[in-house]
Assembly symmetry: none
Homo-oligomer: 395 residues x 2
């Protein structure tokens, strides 16, 4: 935005992953409506509220487009591969021509059918052992292939070489009960790479055969480093991320955020915010458990995760940031046990926000907020405006 | 709009400049909520209400884009230079290749540092004297350069000649405490013009040296007549403007409005509306004081300005226009003492408007209006529809 200007004011954006929910039939209340959340409600009273659509009404966002939209990037224009986000999340230094994919260690039976896509979520230590084995034993002509441990069953696969292309289908069918798929080239330039990756999978299969429970790999999201402008470039901000999960760190790094040490939970994340508060003017804090518990279909546990955030908020409010935004990247209703398309509660508190009548932070209350229902790509303009970091448009 | 048709019905659009505000901390009420405004409230009861974003949520509009959007022009597509608006506002007849800039007479100290960008708002008479001096004494090879008095410290600079380009930076740094900037060419075709303008500034500096308090010029907004379709062409309307301030007259002329004599205040503007009511079918009435008092940070005076409009309304209502729209081009909260990004109250009264539940004309009440929050570029479609000046779309 040409109108952006640098100033000392601070913006804090707290993304509560998978925040939005649906009413539980027994009570008619959503997770947010069921949680004890004094602090979130108090902030709502002092905020302008609304509901955001991160991609588009009716579209269920993945984590990457959900976050990109909140950061002001059109998530349809910037369709970032999962592989690249996973690789950046563990600090891999990727060159423009390198290819990255997201890998799972999985379990297949003796007919080659996937019985567990996550191999019972093996330990990160076991994962490291398997990656070491693959890096030592597997060698394919035409590319240097490296596997790097992410967490539990997840690893990053990177291909380094000449003439490689990410235009490939996935081997991961994203369901159990079927065999891994053969990787296909989506363009003629990708034929060579498809051959290389299929040979890698074949060798990995042999190499892992006698392992248990993880005896196979699944690959998806082949991608290259995208040409995406940084937040500093667009907004003239000095942004930092306080995120625990690798993928969100990778995403933040991709758009030029500095990665700060998060510690192990929301309390230590907010302590980190205190420690680095003077050094940056935009902070992205990511809280994951709401999404994880929603995906587990565990309504009560998601309610507890919301309460965990609420309890940590007084120490954040103590900093009195010029702009505080609390929202989510998508809804993850426990009743659906997965991401969903429902719009996500949003609130923005600042000296200049013009608070509306909303008194509770929930899906239903935010619907009556002063911002109404709006596209998440407008969030950054609102953040910048309320931080008085935007010049006037036109004469 | 291909659907437009000409009919005898009348549309009156009253733009209360900088209308929207923010709550004053002492009372929790905005300027509109604090004003005694029986007529505005009565109109709200009979209207469909809403809130408009003139440029985009979070973006603070200048006066030109704010008005263009209400007239139905995409303000990002039609980014009109300040120079051209200023020149048209004083009836200068510009040819397509002429260049115009907005000029300020200012005060600089003996080190060349700007001490007052407006030279204490010198009188219009003094301004005329200085323009005469410059037009007589300054002569630059390559272009005929004319300065024309606008008001107080403001003048229009016009360049007439061959091969000129408006792609120039400003000399006006828009702040005191620094020196005027050298004009730079933004493209290779503008090199010649940059040289001409810098030579003009240098000669003007010498010429004004012994004057006081205005001893220098500042220039900004170099621009040419834009290629913009008229309202008659788009809407098949015969539009007229009743505006006192030159800039708004310039803007209205730019899109093909006839300029009617406004007198000196909102009462005489409405008298002019009566006088010319039969001759046109669209009237734009512009009221400035709300914006000026908001920019002064004078909450009480802005409240009084709103009351001044309210008092003048019965004579407007006496005409019973087929469509009456009352809104603003942007918000100018007195607490912020400047334009802001907050959406602007809007109401439309007509036989066919389907009034909503709104009983008061204010930011908070309009949020609950039947139009919700919507882009100002939709205002003209609503005006035309309610005036029954639009054909059906499609079979």
């Amino acid at each position: 935005m040409k109108l952006s200007l640098t100033s000392p004011s601070k913006i804090v954006l707290l993304v509560i992953d998978g925040l939005g929910g649906l009413p539980r039939p027994e009570t008619g209340k959503t997770e947010l409506e069921s949680a004890k959340k004094t602090n979130l409600n108090q902030i709502a009273k002092e905020s302008i509220c609304g509901l955001i659509d991160t991609v588009s009404p009716g579209i269920t966002p993945g984590s990457t487009p959900g976050h990109l939209a909140i950061f002001g990037y059109d998530p349809i224009k910037y369709d970032i591969g999962r592989g690249i986000v996973e690789a950046l999340g563990i600090d891999l230094d990727l060159k423009p021509n390198d290819i990255a994919a997201r890998g799972n260690f999985c379990t297949i039976d003796n007919k080659g059918i996937i019985t567990d896509r996550r191999a019972g979520r093996i330990s990160t230590e076991k994962n490291a052992e398997l990656c070491q084995l693959l890096n030592k034993e597997v060698a394919v002509a035409g590319a240097r292939i490296v596997t790097t441990t992410v967490k539990e069953h997840r690893f990053a696969l990177t291909l380094h070489g000449k003439g490689l292309s990410p235009e490939l289908t996935n081997s991961d069918p994203q369901q159990a009960g079927v065999a891994p798929q053969k990787i296909e080239a989506l363009s003629s330039q990708a034929q060579l790479t498809a051959g290389i990756v299929n040979e890698f999978i074949s060798q990995a299969h042999k190499c892992l055969k006698s392992e248990s429970p993880a005896n196979m790999v699944l690959l998806r999201g082949f991608s290259q480093h995208p040409n995406i402008p940084t937040m500093s470039k667009i907004y003239r901000l000095k942004p930092a991320a306080i995120a625990i999960y690798p993928m969100y760190r990778g995403l933040a790094r991709l758009i030029g955020m500095q990665i700060l040490p998060p510690g192990s939970n929301i309390t230590t994340q907010i302590e980190s915010l205190h420690r680095y508060y003077e050094d940056y003017d935009f902070f992205f804090i990511h809280f994951k458990a709401t999404d994880s518990r929603g995906e587990d279909g565990n309504f009560e546990a998601k309610v507890q995760a919301i309460e965990e955030v609420d309890n940590a908020l007084p120490n954040l409010l103590a900093l009195n940031p010029d702009v505080l935004i609390i929202t989510g990247d998508h809804s993850t209703p426990a009743t659906l046990a997965g991401h969903s398309w429902h719009p996500v509660p949003f609130m923005l508190k600042s000296r200049w926000c013009f608070p509306d009548k909303v008194k509770m932070f929930s899906e239903r209350d935010c619907l009556e907020g002063g911002l109404g229902r709006f596209p998440a790509t407008e969030v950054m303009s609102l953040a910048m405006a309320n931080a008085l970091k935007l010049n006037k448009f036109g004469a």
